[in-house]
């Protein structure tokens, strides 16, 4: 099913074809027509937006399930929100069975594409970008599904977000693949999510490449995330996130950061050129918050972490954060490097058996000669250790995410 193209859209295309510069003021008729289509859409509706750059000044929203929004390509159909006057995002979707493809969102005031609470979400070949490059005043998130179920993010590009380029929060059953996250604070962030596969992506030029986090005081704690076959390189951008946000504590020059999350498997990735560390494993306690900020049932310890078979490039030569700088110099010298993997050393003392974590909740490291440093943050960096013996273990592979849309889309 295809809706009749809007005459205004056609007109815009004609103007574009004539080489007219896109107007700097909002194309109010386009905006009104598009929002009206979104309001009046029925399940099965396909809303097509032809090639062109369209200026909008208020956010769009969709609440009807079963709708597809389709542009002519992420470099052809561009919704530009420069000068946006109202709305906290570019497009807000509160619906299921939603597909959006081949379109770009540029310069939204807040988040670019937020999807709240739907099932069966497909976001592919979508670009979200702040065209001025990384800046604190940019919107927080590019691609932002939260509390969704069965979500495929495929072939997207996310650039310049002041928090995370691709951010999956409080969701279940998610695949993020074939995508590129560049010059955001966090490239790809999986937070409080159960069952996520992150593979065949490129994260570069961010402050941190790929984050797997758990935050307190939320309905769902995340677990079971696989990060594999990604290229995570050169994420050294100074942190331009805002204090109070989870990403604000990420040291510039971090490849993969696992914070407070459980059952995370990181394997077969190329990770390198990170000034702080290629992989960081840490607890909520390292973010500077205390018990006063967490509900009693929150588990702040990363457990069941398996880092294996990754290919590490050089890292750790110039860590961010004063205590890490001092630590590097004292332990490894002015010209030395921190090991590839950095662990803050927080463990749940209540579950230790003979001073060690139970096998299924262990931290297991197996990447050739790559080492891990335990900086012993709980004891003020007193007993820093690079002894690997306790961590030369292995965990059973985590199950792959089963997602019909991901299987159907293979090779597409």
């Amino acid at each position: 099913m295809r809706l009749a193209p809007l005459s205004l859209l056609a007109l815009s295309v004609l103007l574009a074809a004539c080489g007219e510069e896109p107007a700097s003021v909002a194309n109010l008729d386009f905006q009104k027509d598009l929002q009206t289509q979104l309001i009046k859409a029925k399940p099965g509706s396909v809303i097509e937006i032809p090639a062109g750059t369209y200026q909008l000044d208020r956010s769009l929203s969709l609440k009807v399930s079963g709708v597809t929004i389709r542009g002519a390509g992420m470099d052809e159909t561009i919704l530009s929100f420069k000068g946006q006057k109202s709305g906290a995002e570019g497009l807000l979707v509160d619906a299921s069975d939603f597909t959006i493809e081949d379109i770009a969102f540029e310069d939204t005031k807040g988040d670019s594409l937020k999807v709240v609470g739907g099932k069966n979400i497909i976001i592919r070949r979508v670009r979200t970008e702040w065209t001025n490059g990384p800046a604190s005043e940019n919107g927080a998130y590019g691609i932002y599904p939260v509390q969704t179920e069965n979500t495929l993010i495929d072939g997207v590009v996310a650039i310049g977000a002041s928090d995370a380029g691709i951010y999956v929060g409080q969701s279940r059953n998610v695949v993020v693949r074939n995508s590129r996250a560049e010059r955001n604070v966090a490239g790809i962030e999986i937070e409080n999510t159960i069952g996520a596969d992150v593979y065949d992506n490129v994260a570069t030029g961010n402050t941190g490449g790929v984050l797997v986090f758990n935050m307190p005081n939320l309905p769902q704690a995340g677990r079971v995330t696989r990060v594999f076959r990604n290229r995570i390189e050169g994420n050294n951008h100074p942190n331009f996130g805002h204090k109070g946000t989870p990403v604000a504590s990420v040291p510039a020059g971090s490849g993969v950061v696992i914070n407070s999350n459980d059952e995370v498997e990181v394997f077969d990735n190329d990770i390198g050129e990170h000034k702080t560390a290629n992989v960081i494993i840490s607890s909520y306690f390292s973010t500077g918050y205390t018990d006063l900020s967490t509900a009693e049932n929150f588990d702040p310890y990363p457990e069941g972490i398996h880092i294996h078979g990754n290919r590490f490039g050089p890292a750790g030569d110039s860590p961010d954060h004063l205590e890490l700088k001092a630590l590097k110099i004292s332990q490894f010298g002015l010209n030395g490097r921190l090991p590839d993997i950095l662990w803050d050393g927080y463990v749940n003392l209540d579950i230790l058996v003979d001073g060690k974590l139970p096998a299924d909740r262990a931290i297991c490291i197996n990447n050739g000669s790559a080492a891990m440093i335990n900086v012993d943050a709980p004891n003020n960096y007193q007993n820093i250790s690079t002894e690997m013996a306790d961590y030369r273990c292995s965990l059973p592979p985590l199950p792959a995410v089963k997602l019909a849309s991901a299987e159907a889309g293979q090779g597409a």
């Binding site: 309905p219 204090k243 900020s293």
Partner: protein, 370 residues
């Protein structure tokens, strides 16, 4: 058939006679013109609610750029709402109307104030108000429907604008300062953005609930508690005999003598935030719950780290820092008019100075540390 009838009625409208109230329990052929609903009538330069509709107001209302609001509920003949402490069950065909306007001085300048300027007998004097929009909330078989109507410059008619609208106005305050406002009429989805309190369960009225309505109102016949008035008019069943058992929010802007600063602040957060920030509303993803049932603790924002606030955090580490409003994300967001920072996200384009002041005083009064 209905159209024909309306046509005849519209002709009559020239004689200041509104059409009969529109009963529309199903169907989606919603009137393009507000007058077709038959909720408002004009006489002698005044615009007023029809006598069959009950006017009402709220203890502490939602702030919307200092717009004044003329609210009404109409129920089909013989039908009535059922009392519930959390919300009422309204009969099929109920029409809630809410007309947003600014008072105008003799020179035609729009005024910024929070005074009640409604004449209980005659309504609003057209020469002294600027009508902006009227929102209709209609209860149908499949649930509530929100319909935004935007007034024309001559204040003769308002038209259905699914996609909303925006209006640039200038407001003159009591100190003689002019404040420019880009007033945003929400689109139908944005209406739902607030009114759909429970995800996927459809829209609900927000204002006409027990705790908001439980107050005196000046009717043409004199002042009376709204809930008791509704009951006496046969429009509300099941109201507890003793009003002491019925919740009430603090009165805005001047609280009743018995109402504490905490009640005032919580009433404000209830009216302005809790439609989203409740355990099932769209703000649930933040983990911050500002509904009346949530006690003051981490979930109400005390020492709570924001989850996905982005730049909305304002470089502050917790939502509410006891004793320190300037370290509280909540204050940063209510003090902002930047669409990507401000809370609520919709419904205002300027800062509510008086609301900010109450919240500031309340957070200052809290003891403890984070």
């Amino acid at each position: 058939m209905r159209r024909l009838l309306l046509g005849v009625l519209l002709l009559l409208a020239g004689c200041e006679q509104p059409p009969a109230p529109l009963y529309m329990p199903d169907g989606d052929n919603y009137p393009e013109k507000l007058s077709e609903w038959g909720m408002l009538q004009r006489a002698d330069g005044f615009i007023a609610l029809i006598t069959e509709a009950l006017p009402y107001d709220l203890n502490t209302p939602l702030f919307t750029d200092y717009a004044h609001k003329l609210r009404s509920v109409w129920m089909p003949v013989g039908a009535s709402a059922h009392y519930g402490e959390a919300h009422f069950d309204y009969p099929l065909g109920t029409v809630l109307s809410k007309t947003f306007y600014y008072p105008k001085d003799a020179q035609g300048r729009l005024l910024l104030n929070e005074q009640d300027d409604r004449d209980p007998q005659r309504g609003l004097e057209l020469a002294r108000v600027q009508l902006i929009e009227t929102r209709i909330l209609l209860k149908q078989q499949h649930g509530w429907v929100a319909l935004p109507y935007v007034w024309d410059e001559q204040q003769l008619e308002a038209s259905l604008e699914w996609a909303g609208a925006s209006r640039d106005v200038r407001l003159l305050d009591a100190q003689g300062q002019t404040q420019p406002v880009t007033y945003q009429v929400p689109d139908a989805n944005q209406c739902a953005g607030c009114h759909e309190e429970r995800a996927g369960q459809g829209l609900n009225p927000l204002g006409p609930k027990a705790r908001h309505l439980n107050k005196d109102f000046t009717y043409a016949e004199g002042a009376h508690n709204q809930l008791q008035h509704w009951q006496q008019q046969g429009r509300l069943q099941g109201l507890p005999a003793d009003l002491q058992g019925v919740p009430h929010n603090a009165l805005w802007p001047a609280p009743r003598p018995t109402e504490s600063l905490e009640q005032q602040a919580r009433s404000y957060l209830d009216a302005n935030c809790s439609h989203c920030h409740n355990p099932t509303g769209p703000g649930r993803t933040s983990g911050l719950l500002l509904d009346p049932a949530t006690t003051i603790g981490i979930r109400y924002g005390l020492c709570k780290q924001p989850v996905a606030a982005g730049k909305g955090s304002g470089d502050r580490r917790v939502d509410i820092h006891p004793g320190q409003p300037d370290k509280s994300v909540l204050m940063f967001r209510v003090e902002s008019a930047d669409p990507s920072v401000m809370m609520p996200e919709l419904g205002r384009s300027i800062v509510h100075t008086e609301g900010v002041e109450v919240l500031h005083r309340w957070i200052t009064s809290l003891a403890g540390d984070c």
